[in-house]
Amino acid sequence: MNTTTHSNQGLIATADIGDRKRGQTVSVENVTKVYQTASGPLRAIEETSFKIEPGEFVSVLGPSGCGKTTFLMVISGLIPCTTGRVKIGDQVIDKPYTDLGFVFQRDVLMDWRTVLSNVMLPVEIKKLKPIEKYQERAHELLKMAGLSGFEKSLPCELSGGMRQRVSICRALVSDPPILLMDEPFGALDALTREQMNDDLLKIWSKSRSMVLFITHNISEAVYLSDRIIVMSQRPGRILEILDLSDLPRPRNIATKELPAFNKHINRIRHIFVNQGILSGGEEDQKFILQD
């Protein structure tokens, strides 16, 4: 597939077509992951299969250390899975897949580059042309992220929230059809986090790439997603896949007051309580909740 042409089309399209779904289906087929550690094999992911459609916003929600991050690594081809396979479109992933954007928990900005130069990094490395077009897009993204005027600043001059916004702009600059986010707001304080959720939705609504979003924050997952994959403790397996299509978009503060919003949050809590991931109360005993 010709990355450059593809991305160019996307670039032009973002300006006028808001609700556009593009890209290819990601399918995870019978994937397991076993790490070989000094103390023996460590099962990170039990056999798992799911599909994500183009333009979908899917969250993977689970307790710490349940192999959520491993999922992203396997899907992006950064680490191989032990059995099973991942396919993006018809392509079986056996090496790093480069037509995607990656946002990590730490912003991983290059301290020695300016904000604009950080955002342009993917364009530079993927040698995308024409530069001017992408530069324009970088400015546009930074403006959308409330970072106008900071283009020439160095990352050390920015706050944590601003830095993470820069790294999101960087992931989106080449307009990739897939965006992988690994607990991107985990290191931010609660208020900044809420604001970042809205900023992300705003930016995403313009690009409509597929997002696979890793989090352990229940309300964040419900607020952002079309679907939520709820995972168990390690070794990670899918407990349930929730459909959130009853929460209309665009989402805003009113969304959080809808009965459906709380219904989903409670549903997920119940799953975690039944799993023993949450104790469910101050009496230290296992609750069995009925649906």
Binding site: R106, D111, I125
Partner: protein, 281 residues
């Protein structure tokens, strides 16, 4: 605060005297205390030597040392050029071998297990004690002094470069791979710049060691250089001259250290401490 100062400077171009007073103000604000302390120690020294009538061949007063510095400046500067030359050439060779070797160590398990392990073990040898051997092999010219200087500054450069290049956060390397960066790009655009603060740390340590190396070489088999001159002056119990040479040597060391510091400031415009904190999170 301090980061605003350069802008202040740019804004006040026309009045040169204003410019100078600002420069002085900055100097006093940043180094005032150190300056006062330094002057205090010199004064105390002067007063003590005069009051206690310490013989000049034991401890000359600062004023006498200053006289020696001025009176013998022609000869001392002539010798200083030799020392400076040895220090700079030795340092440059140490850097030119040290940094590429460090890169090889980071990228090759084999070299790490062989050469690096050997290097670390070889640090148990006092390099100063190699001087007689080097003289025996390379005779009395500048070569043995340059080799000792190179040996002295080589190790901190290698170690700090290795540390700097291996400290790249894993996420940054993941990012590089997910962007499809080549091996060279990963090095040049990610690992190397990320390691720069540590590399400069090594270079700074190396400058002071380079001076030590050159002077030791001159002690053992000098016909030129400040170390050689110091030996001669000491043999004739001209203590004031020995002190004067010490001052010249310190100035040389400080100048080189600050030169590297200046280059570092121009290259590393970000705040490496924050980078370090986040690396250690």
């Amino acid at each position: 605060m301090t980061t605003d100062t350069p802008q202040e400077f740019n804004n006040i171009q026309p009045g040169a005297s204003k410019h100078r007073s600002l420069w002085l103000k900055k100097l006093i604000r940043e180094h005032g205390l150190a300056l006062v302390f330094f002057v205090g120690v010199i004064l105390l020294w002067e007063v003590y030597v005069r009051a206690a009538k310490v013989p000049v061949y034991v401890l000359p007063a600062p004023s006498v040392i200053l006289q020696a510095m001025i009176k013998e400046s022609n000869e001392m500067l002539k010798h200083a050029w030799f020392t400076l030359y040895e220090v700079i050439v030795g340092f440059l060779i140490g850097t030119a071998i040290g940094i590429p070797l460090a890169i090889a160590i980071v990228y090759s398990k084999f070299i790490e297990k062989t050469i690096y392990a050997f290097l670390v073990a070889s640090q148990a040898i006092p390099k100063v004690a190699l001087a007689p051997l080097l003289i025996a092999w390379f005779s009395f010219g500048m070569t043995p002094k340059i080799i000792i200087t190179t040996l002295m500054c080589f190790f901190p450069i290698v170690v700090n470069t290795v540390i700097g290049l291996s400290s790249t956060p894993p996420e940054m390397l993941y990012l590089a791979r997910s962007l499809g960066a080549s091996g060279f790009e990963t090095f040049w655009k990610f690992r190397f710049p990320h390691g720069l603060p540590s590399i400069f740390g090594g270079l700074k340590v190396a400058t002071s060691l380079a001076v030590v190396g050159a002077v030791v070489g001159e002690f053992v088999a000098g016909v030129n250089g400040l170390g050689y001159l110091q030996m001669i002056r000491a043999a004739f119990v001209r203590t004031a001259s020995v002190f004067a040479i010490l001052v010249y040597l310190s100035v040389l060391g400080i100048a080189l250290f600050n030169l590297i510091g200046y280059i570092e400031k121009r290259v590393i415009r970000w705040d490496p401490r924050r980078q370090l904190e986040r690396t250690q999170e």
